[in-house]
């Protein structure tokens, strides 16, 4: 990656400095105290950096950040009928927070964190707050977020909340407010860390030129906190990150966090409960899990006690938590306090429980379940924000003032009918912060999400966070609705306080040579990643040789060999119109038909046609194992994805130089990817499965290629040997070895039996055998060989013992022995692949049997 462009030493004197031309919003502005007023001290250094860069410099940074986001694949899934992914958006201009102000927020939110933990403990325990009239029963007991099976689940105090996120807004008069609390499975932490990594790339001057607090200590506190929950209290506990899967809105950050924190990313199906313990199904058997960091919402975590339609959870998880043998962060049921109406009661609860005033107020909230509050809401409906009062999943906020009188009447009626379902909040006129757009800074309203962790009995706030800025004054700050995110910079050096991490207390570094054992699902994915990459590479090479041959005029004569190359790509039935019989008795190929066939092949109109599907499958799997791939491998993969989009059929002729160039670069990227796997992936089980996939696919593709080209009768068989060697990248090897013209026997020996040719079938089979020796089943059951060992052995000996001269023999032009040999080999490889899957992957999917015992056929009357 090239470094960002150098900063221009002097801004052009004609143009006004960016910061000088910035017009702050009408209320409080983060950068400037007011129109024509000076820049706030916290912004001075960053404003100077922006001015030095100027609009052109910043434009380059914007391009860089967009490119990096594409290459890192930072995205979030969009929930819509169309589905799909949306790229992340980050403004290169950060959000700045003064260190002192940050400390005040940390103190205030620590109090709130503590309070929320106490309330959760009471609601899921003795319920004194409800009995004492401090919390209305309807808001707790009648709240869909109150999960009765979680009652009594965590008898100890402070076991519910470990990570707490709050959405903050600053009002136009400069005061901070809590807009909402995110407790159940708060998202955004991964994006916040990712944003900081992006800032290091695109705004290094800003981060270097002033003391900006690092996020690392927080990440390490978070890991300490999570690992400290381990019921077995041993060093190096087994922690997993539970994700709903690649379909989830924020799957990107789940895989990003898993990689950053070093925990395996698992889905519900990967875990199983036995004897009150949770186990991860891995290729080396079951491994007990100590702590689950959960990104699955509470209600979906256990289909036996919570939502029975959930396929995301782990059946029996609650029972395992009850037995005290696994910890889950955050605790099940925390979403209860996310209900907006709860915040109306926090000031009173804070005085009751802590004897203090709530330091950071929630935005004013009225719960309509109380008569006076309901009356207030009904008389001020036009100026309030209306929300659904209950439930952890927040419904959309409504702005009655923006709607017709008829609609307002309808809402009024609904409030009157079921007042307890509604609450209203004050509309916050938000402060503004500069947003870069069109080479200028514009004032835009924002929301700030901050994260706190409970650690060693205290609370720590991340010196950073995720700011979201609406494009436009009144726009939405939801990323789904196209808002822009900002990295949050907290200025000032870390103060040494009791909350800061004490390095002297840090545990001695544990060197982990071998990572935690590989989840079966990941092994399965890596295996297929290897196979699809290899398949794409083999087919790209083949179609490249074919197009090259079609463009080479000297090839117009022996059309028959081209015909056979075609047959390696598509079923013979599709090729009926391809052959032209020349009057001389030699066969040719109809160029128009060749073009049309290839166009259909690329367009995936032919069975098994095209390259895009293979590359798309490889990309889909790569996204699912992203936390296992190095960044470089990921960059190469995303280049590949982009390049694959320029493949035919476009408007141009398929048989053209342009296609050849595209194919060349795809072969280059695929080889680059395989090189990165070879060089940069730790030689653990994951790598072995990836490479097994490659080896099996390469052997299968070779069988197919030799079968299609060398077994049918051909009037000029030697004409095929050269393209065959080209397809398998073995032409140079051949030339160095034989110095002769091409001969079938030598070519077959090189491509099938030569143990030193990395493209030969024998070479693949030897690697497979080696890999099997390195896999976990050896260590455990060194007694009997498994069926897959036997298959591998059989394949190796078949190949090693084969009589190449015999295989090359023809019988009326056909090579029947070769055909039989290749058939047996290919079916043996297929069996091996199935045996491998059965032994190591064996992911069978769960179903529910909720349809029991329904309906009494009783009618006595």
């Amino acid at each position: 990656m090239p470094p960002p462009p150098n900063v221009a030493p002097h801004p052009s004197p004609q143009t006004e400095a960016l910061s000088a031309s910035y017009v702050p919003g009408g209320g409080y502005d983060e950068m400037r105290e007011g129109p024509g007023q000076p820049i706030r001290p916290v912004w001075s250094e960053t404003a100077a950096v922006l001015d030095r860069l100027g609009p052109e410099g910043l434009e380059q940074r914007v391009e860089t950040v967009e490119r990096l986001i594409r290459e890192y694949g930072v995205s979030y899934n969009v929930y819509s009928d169309a589905g799909g992914q949306q790229e992340w958006a980050m403004d290169v201009v950060p959000f700045l927070l003064d260190g002192k102000e940050w400390s005040l927020l940390e103190e205030a939110l620590s109090q709130r964190f503590h309070l929320l933990n106490l309330i959760l403990h009471d609601c899921y325990g003795e319920q004194r707050l409800i009995q004492g009239g401090r919390l209305p029963p309807e808001l707790v007991l009648g709240n869909p977020g109150f999960l009765t099976p979680a009652h009594g689940l965590l008898p100890q105090k402070f076991r519910h909340l470990h990570l707490y996120a709050a959405d903050l807004a600053r009002s136009a008069d400069g005061v901070w407010w809590v807009l909402s609390d995110r407790l159940d499975a708060a998202s955004g932490l991964g994006y916040a860390i990712e944003n900081r990594q992006l800032s290091h790339r695109v705004m290094p001057e800003g981060l270097r030129g002033q003391p900006i607090r690092s996020l690392h200590p927080f990440v390490s506190d978070f890991c300490d906190a999570v690992e400290g929950l381990s019921p077995r209290h041993r060093e190096n506990p087994h922690v997993v990150l539970l994700t709903p899967g690649p379909g989830n809105e924020t799957y990107f950050e789940h895989s990003f966090l898993a990689r950053t924190l070093g925990y395996p990313l698992v889905e519900g199906d990967d875990l199983t409960v036995r004897d009150g313990r949770v186990f991860l199904k891995s290729i080396s058997g079951m491994r007990q899990v100590d702590v689950i960091v959960r990104r699955v919402d509470s209600d979906w975590c256990d289909p036996l006690e919570l939502r029975s339609d959930s396929l995301l959870g782990v059946p029996g998880l609650l029972q395992a938590i009850r037995s005290g043998r696994v910890a889950v962060a955050n605790g099940i049921g925390c979403g209860l306090l996310q209900s907006p109406a709860i915040s109306a009661f926090l000031p009173g609860l804070c005085r009751d429980l802590l004897g203090e005033n709530l330091r950071l107020p929630s935005v004013a909230t009225w719960w309509c379940g109380q008569p006076a509050e309901r009356d207030y809401v009904l008389s001020n409906l036009h100026s309030l924000v209306l929300k659904s009062a209950k439930g952890p999943a927040l419904g959309p906020a409504l702005f009655p003032g923006n709607h017709s009188a008829a609609l307002q009447r309808q809402w009024r009626r609904r409030i009157e009918r079921h007042p307890g379902d509604w609450c209203a909040q004050e509309f916050v006129n938000k402060a503004t912060t500069p947003l870069l757009s069109g080479g200028r800074l514009h004032a835009a309203p924002f929301l700030l999400r901050v994260y706190l962790v409970r650690h060693q009995g205290g609370y720590t706030m991340m010196p950073g966070g995720l700011a979201r800025v609406a494009r436009g004054q009144e726009g939405s700050v939801s990323m789904q609705a196209g808002a822009v995110s900002k990295d949050v910079w907290v200025t000032g050096l870390a103060q040494v306080s009791q909350r800061e991490r004490r390095p002297s207390q840090a545990a001695p570094t544990i060197i982990r040579r071998s990572a935690h054992s590989l989840p079966s699902r990941t092994a399965d994915n890596l295996y297929w990643l290897g196979r699809y990459c290899e398949r794409a590479e083999a087919r790209t090479r083949l179609v490249r040789v074919l197009i090259d041959s079609l463009m080479d005029e000297s090839w117009t004569g022996p059309g028959e060999s081209i015909f056979l190359l075609f047959s390696a790509l598509m079923p013979l039935g599709e090729m009926q119109n391809l052959k032209l019989e020349n009057p001389q008795g030699t066969a040719g190929v109809d160029p128009d038909e060749a073009e049309s066939l290839l166009r259909r092949w690329f367009g995936e109109e032919l069975p098994g046609g095209g390259l895009r599907a293979d590359i798309a499958s490889a990309m889909r799997i790569a996204r699912g194992v992203k936390e296992r791939l190095s960044l470089d491998a990921w960059h190469t993969a995303s280049h590949l994805d982009q390049r694959a989009r320029t493949l035919p059929p476009g408007r141009q002729t398929v048989i053209s130089d342009r296609t050849l160039q595209t194919l060349d670069s795809i072969v280059g990227l695929l080889s680059g990817l395989s090189g990165l796997f070879m060089e940069n992936m730790v030689r653990g089980d994951g790598w072995i499965f990836q490479d097994l996939g490659r080896r099996i696919e390469r052997a299968l593709q070779m069988c197919n290629l030799i079968y299609s080209t060398l077994t049918p009768p051909c009037r000029n068989p030697n004409a095929l040997l050269r393209p065959l060697l080209q397809c398998s990248d073995s032409l140079i090897t051949y030339r160095r070895r034989y110095f002769t013209s091409l001969q079938t026997v030598s070519v077959l020996d090189l491509l099938i039996c030569d143990p030193d040719n990395p493209r030969s079938i024998a070479f693949q089979l030897h690697r497979i055998e080696e890999h099997l020796g390195g896999l976990p089943h050896r260590a455990q059951s060194h007694a009997l060989p498994l069926p897959l060992d036997k298959t591998s052995l059989r394949l190796t000996s078949q190949t090693g013992l084969c009589d190449v001269a015999g295989l090359a023999e023809t019988n009326r032009g056909r090579r029947l022995k070769l055909a039989r040999f290749l058939d047996a080999l290919a079916s043996g490889l297929g069996i091996f692949s199935e045996q491998l899957a059965e032994h190591y992957f064996a992911i069978t999917y769960r179903q529910s049997t909720a349809s029991a015992a329904r309906g009494a056929s009783v009618d006595l009357a």
Partner: protein
């Protein structure tokens, strides 16, 4: 006092082997002032690798078990002997409890005792009950504020019985209660959910009860084994008196012919059996309930 012998047998058949399965459920009758559990046993075939019982949030006995050997069938047989109090020990007759709907709501608001709180929870919407305009419109005429809650609820119970047809094929477990109201058909679970939705949308406390009901064999014939099924009805809360059970499927004030297994906000809290299986292909389930008065059992 009537004593019953109840056998509740659930048999699953799978088209493919199940590698491992985990189940939870409510099969053990509650003991209360109205009913005593003389004996209870459960037989699971194949034998589970683990099995637990716990008291849930509502005081019911929740059963958990896991089967770890491959199987293509699973049979769970729960056998209970229960003594039910005769009618004169039931809660005071409605006439002596002239609590109006308004009184009931008021009592819930003011009283913060544990009993009242658990009743307050039962006045809230739950996952299988609904508050919609059609439900409101159907329910509202039954509940003028100044009428006795018990009488209103009894009228509603009778109306559901009269206006709705018992039809096991019209609905299934996923049919929402609003659809039941539109179809005017369903089974006991549907009628219980509908009645609960009506009562709760009026802020009146009512809970879901699952259990068994004694059916009478046709004259001259003996009781058919396994012909019955598990049943469901509704309990309404009268502050100061406790819970009174009404059966909208049969338009009955529940007496000594009903045996309570579990109580909850709705079916989702206390479904008799829930499971998660790995493998199994397609599955079939067959449920048989036989409830016999003890005197018949002991007869030679």
């Amino acid at each position: 006092m009537p004593r019953y012998h109840i056998i509740h047998r659930t048999a699953y058949k799978y088209s493919m082997p199940v590698a491992i399965s985990r189940h939870s459920g409510y099969l053990k009758p509650r003991s209360s002032s109205r009913q005593a559990i003389d004996s209870f046993s459960i037989a699971i075939e194949p034998a589970p690798a683990e099995q637990h019982e716990r008291k849930d949030y509502f005081g019911n006995t929740q059963l958990h078990f896991q089967i770890e050997e491959p199987h293509t069938g699973l049979i769970i047989t729960a056998e209970s002997r229960v003594t039910v109090a005769p009618p004169d020990r039931l809660p005071p007759p409605p006439a002596s409890a002239p609590l109006t709907c308004r009184d009931v709501r008021e009592a819930l608001r003011k009283d913060t005792s544990t009993d009242s709180l658990s009743a307050a929870q039962m006045a809230c919407r739950s996952s299988l009950t609904a508050f919609t305009d059609p439900i409101d419109d159907f329910a509202a005429p039954f509940f003028p504020g100044d009428r006795s809650y018990y009488e209103c609820a009894s009228d509603l119970c009778a109306a559901i019985h009269q206006q709705f047809e018992f039809d096991p094929h019209a609905t299934d477990l996923s049919t929402p209660v609003t659809e039941v109201l539109r179809l005017r058909r369903g089974v006991c679970q549907d009628f219980a959910h509908l009645m609960l939705s009506c009562l709760r949308s009026q802020y009146l406390p009512a809970r879901y009860v699952s259990g068994y009901i004694l059916t009478l064999p046709p004259p001259g014939q003996s009781r058919l084994q396994g012909a019955d099924a598990s049943h469901a009805w509704v309990g309404i809360h009268l502050p100061g008196h406790g819970w009174i059970d009404l059966d909208p499927t049969n338009n009955l004030l529940c007496g000594d012919g009903h045996v309570t297994v579990a109580i909850g906000r709705d079916y989702a809290d206390i479904s008799p059996l829930r499971g998660a299986v790995i493998g199994g292909g397609t599955q079939k389930v067959k449920i048989e309930v036989t409830m016999t008065p003890e005197e018949e059992v002991s007869r030679p």
